[in-house]
């Protein structure tokens, strides 16, 4: 192994940012603005990260489309949508700062859809009281990632490593001090010394079979942080988006934007009933339409009319579709019908929802301006993640920060659509700035050769001759376990069984085999990704077992109600000497003025 060490390239920076979606790139811009040298590591080519798939928009209380909107209403909607489990400080900072982050994008060249008087237009979305989502048709994520990308490449002091994957975080004296990564194209290793690390790696959706997520979503950041000693929280809360494609099988799970409902689309069962009227939770009754007439009035902009029930929060809509299907009222391929064809003119649909039009036309042989779509729930977003400080994005491990989907807290038990893109910008900025400031006043800690060698050996282990398991097949098995035992509805017994299966599978993952050489070898990459997915999956299942109540994205058939006590605390996942330790956080108390505002009836 002597050669192994001399083959490792070494780099030094103030700040290492892992992940180059909007959160990572926004963090890089902030860190470089503070004067830090920055290394931005991207698992894919720049501009291809998961942000690019976001469709509907970015939520910010600009008040352009409805002047009654302001940060307080946005804050309240976020907390209500998150079923009061949110980190209220994060929700407040997010609602306050989202508008300036969006306006800043415009200065960097973003071109959002416009209002009649030439301002940024805003659209309606689930759980948002007023039209709040800055958008560009149904390709808002592309607009945002391209804008920050064009900014980041012209910043001072940022080196960008494309198609490079961080496989280990190195710690010394309980502090994150760097990472070991591999380049996809040639398989060479690079050690990156950094005084601060921002984890912005996104989600974990690839642990599930039916998902709207890309291959990159393998829980890398969650797992890297956990192994390095940082706390994870809220891992039981996964968002199942109500509208994924259900047919044909090859595209099952692909996202159908909530924008379809925002633009007036309605959900129907196989009897032609607009079933969402039967699923309005009490807490939302005051601001939801009572009947079809009122919902249509709202669509036509008639003052005083309340929002249609299709725009209830995602957890509510997903479970309603599931129930309809279960009770025999589903569409032919096991979903619900989503109809925009009978609600809007064909030209309007093509203008406002162009990629949905193409997606169904090209992949599903269906013209959405003529016929209803078939849709069903799909694994979409991880509310849980690395536990962070609201003001800085600092994790519980010194020197490590997190932002975006990899961080936890803002969204509580359920994320509102549109709050993710704004989350990336707000907390990308905050964490990048804080990481840079920490780095600039911190002495460099070099890491020991021994640790580096150990990490390098682990990364290359799957090439050794005695390995036998096909990583693709292990991945399929993992997805089956997660769908069956930790999916949209959960139960103690099934979770126990799932955890047992995952523990068994994790032993086999250690035996995963990389076939071929180190240059651009997906079998090797998957061996490493599997280690991350199995750790995050175990964290999800353990946390789901521990939360014996139903709330937001977490539904327990054996505990169908809210538990007041559990609703005030988070479940923390921490690495112990024998594996996962589960800890309950302290109870969170929101200040009275904010609490009163949240609890107010319809506003």
């Amino acid at each position: 192994m002597g050669d192994l060490m001399s083959d490792i390239e070494e780099k030094k920076y103030d700040v290492l940012i892992i992940g180059a979606g909007a959160a990572g790139m926004r963090a890089a811009i902030a860190a470089s603005d503070e004067g830090a040298s920055v290394c931005l590591v991207s698992k894919s080519l720049l501009g291809k990260a998961h942000t690019v798939m976001a469709e509907g928009g970015a939520a910010a209380a600009l008040g352009n489309a409805d002047e009654r909107d302001n940060w307080k209403v946005h804050f309240r909607d976020t907390i209500k949508g998150g079923k009061h489990l949110n980190n209220w400080k994060m929700a407040k900072i997010h609602a306050e700062q989202a508008p300036e982050r969006i306006l800043e994008l415009e200065k960097w060249g973003a071109v959002f859809d416009r209002t009649k008087d030439g301002k940024i237009n805003q659209r309606n979305f689930g759980g948002h009281r007023y039209p709040r989502l800055a958008h560009v048709g149904d390709r808002t994520g592309l607009e945002i990632i391209r804008t920050v990308q064009d900014k980041v490449i012209h910043q001072e002091n940022i080196d960008i490593f494309m198609e490079c994957t961080v496989a280990k975080i190195i710690t010394e004296k309980e502090q994150a001090v760097g990472a070991l990564a591999y380049y996809r194209n040639n398989g060479n290793l690079v050690a990156i010394h950094a005084k601060a690390i921002v984890v912005a790696t996104g989600g974990i959706g690839k642990a599930y079979r039916v998902t709207s997520n890309s291959w990159e979503y393998t829980g890398d950041g969650h797992s890297l942080a956990y192994l390095a000693g940082a706390d994870l929280q809220d891992m039981e809360f996964i968002q199942f988006h109500p509208t994924g494609m259900v047919w044909p099988p090859s595209v099952k799970g692909t996202l159908v934007t909530e924008g379809v409902r925002g633009e007036g689309g309605i959900l129907l069962n196989n009897k032609g009933e607009r079933f969402m009227f039967n699923y309005i939770p009490e807490a939302f009754a005051a601001e939801t339409a009572k009947d079809e007439k009122e919902a249509n009035d709202w669509l036509n902009g008639i003052e005083g009319a309340m929002r249609p029930p299709e725009l209830l929060t995602r957890d509510v809509v997903a479970k309603a579709i599931m129930k309809e299907v279960k009770e025999g009222r589903g569409s032919p391929h096991g979903g619900a019908f989503l109809d925009i064809a009978n609600r809007r003119e064909a030209d309007y649909i093509k203008k406002k929802l162009p990629s949905m039009y193409h997606q169904f036309k090209e992949l599903g042989d269906l013209d959405i301006t003529e016929e209803p779509m078939e849709v069903g729930p799909t694994t979409h977003y991880m509310m849980g993640g690395i536990s962070v400080n609201a003001e800085t994005g600092a994790s519980s491990l010194k020197g490590m920060y997190a932002a975006g989907e990899a961080a936890a807290g803002l969204h509580g038990a359920n994320r509102l659509g549109g709050n993710s893109l704004s989350d990336l910008l707000v907390f990308g900025n905050i964490s990048g700035r804080a990481a840079a400031n920490f780095a600039l006043k911190t002495e460099e800690l070099s890491f020991s050769k021994g640790k580096l060698k150990e990490a390098a050996e682990q990364i290359l282990e799957s090439f050794s001759k005695d390995k036998t398991e096909n990583p693709y097949h292990l991945h399929q098995e993992l997805q089956d376990i997660m769908e069956m035992h930790a999916g949209i509805v959960r139960e103690e017994e099934s979770l126990n069984e799932g955890i047992e299966k995952l523990t068994e599978l994790s032993k086999r993952v250690k035996n995963a085999k990389a076939t071929g050489g180190r240059a651009y070898n997906p079998s090797w990459h998957l061996c490493l990704d599997m280690e991350n997915m199995i750790i995050t999956s175990l964290a999800v299942a353990e946390a789901a077992r521990e939360r014996r109540e139903s709330r937001g994205g977490h539904t327990r058939l054996d505990y169908p109600e809210y538990d007041e006590e559990l609703g005030m605390l988070n479940i923390i996942i921490r690495k112990g000497p024998d594996g996962i330790n589960i800890v309950k956080s302290d109870k969170k108390i929101m200040p009275d003025d904010l609490q009163n505002f949240v609890m107010k009836e319809a506003i």
Partner: protein, 244 residues
């Protein structure tokens, strides 16, 4: 249905054609077939992909000789009795199998003057004034237009010509109602717009249906001509010695 698929494999210039057989299911796209082969027959088969929904532009390749996004190309569009031949994009150097080195594109982009905002805190733009710009901003950087462009593909003039993708980017910035920059000189010189001979191959392969030639390149050619080849302006420059 059983299908024969032939994939170009190997690193850099050292390649061979590798034949596979597989069962094709309903609605399957070419990328599904590649994944099936990866999981069962060739675990180290290299392919670049991300979203599998036509939004990221990663899985560009040549399917039966046509530049395509593999995630948006249905297997059922091709005659099942004939083998399907999949090769990497020809215009860029092969890294391995279907993955090419597209880093040149990122280098070109970096040299284009970015958006120059006006000095105002209340930038206003009307929708009808940004429709064209938004058409160009739909680009997902799949680089299929670069792959099919003769100037890059056959003549390999990467040093002289930026290619359709970056003429679109230039056009987007030049037509942005609030942009304060001027890129005509670089469009003419470094980016070599004169090399485009308007065969419209790029427009034909664009998965986002951007009218690359008609809406971006031709108007930019006209602006360059107006600026540099207008006889009155030419005389004015001769007399005054001013470049603009």
């Amino acid at each position: 249905m059983n299908r024969k698929i032939i994939i170009q494999r190997g690193e850099k210039e050292d390649y061979f054609m590798h034949e596979f057989e597989m069962e094709s299911g309903p609605g399957m796209v070419v990328l599904d077939a590649i994944h099936h082969i990866q999981a069962n027959d060739a675990p180290d088969l290299a392919v670049r992909w991300n979203c599998k929904a036509g939004k990221c532009g990663s899985c560009s390749a040549e399917v039966n000789g046509e530049p395509k996004l593999m995630c948006m190309t249905r297997m059922s569009d091709y005659d099942p009795s004939e083998p399907l031949v999949i090769k990497p994009m020809k215009t860029f150097p092969v890294v391995k199998d279907l993955v090419t080195d597209v880093s040149w594109n990122y280098e070109v982009n970096k040299k284009i003057l970015p958006y120059q905002p006006p000095e105002t805190d209340d930038p206003r733009m009307l929708q009808e004034d940004v429709d064209r710009v938004q058409e160009f901003r739909k680009c997902i950087e799949c680089f299929l237009c670069q792959d099919v462009c003769h100037v890059l593909r056959d003549s390999d003039m990467k040093a002289e010509y930026a290619g359709p993708r970056f003429l679109v980017r230039n056009a987007m910035l030049e037509m942005h109602p609030l942009d304060q920059g001027n890129r005509l000189e670089t469009i003419k010189n470094e980016n070599g717009i004169g090399l485009c001979n308007i065969t419209k191959c790029c427009t034909e392969v664009c998965p986002e249906n951007i009218a690359i030639t008609d809406n971006a390149i031709i108007p930019m050619k006209e602006r360059v001509v107006d600026e540099y080849y207008d006889p009155l302006k030419w005389i004015w420059r001769k007399i005054t010695g001013k470049t603009n």
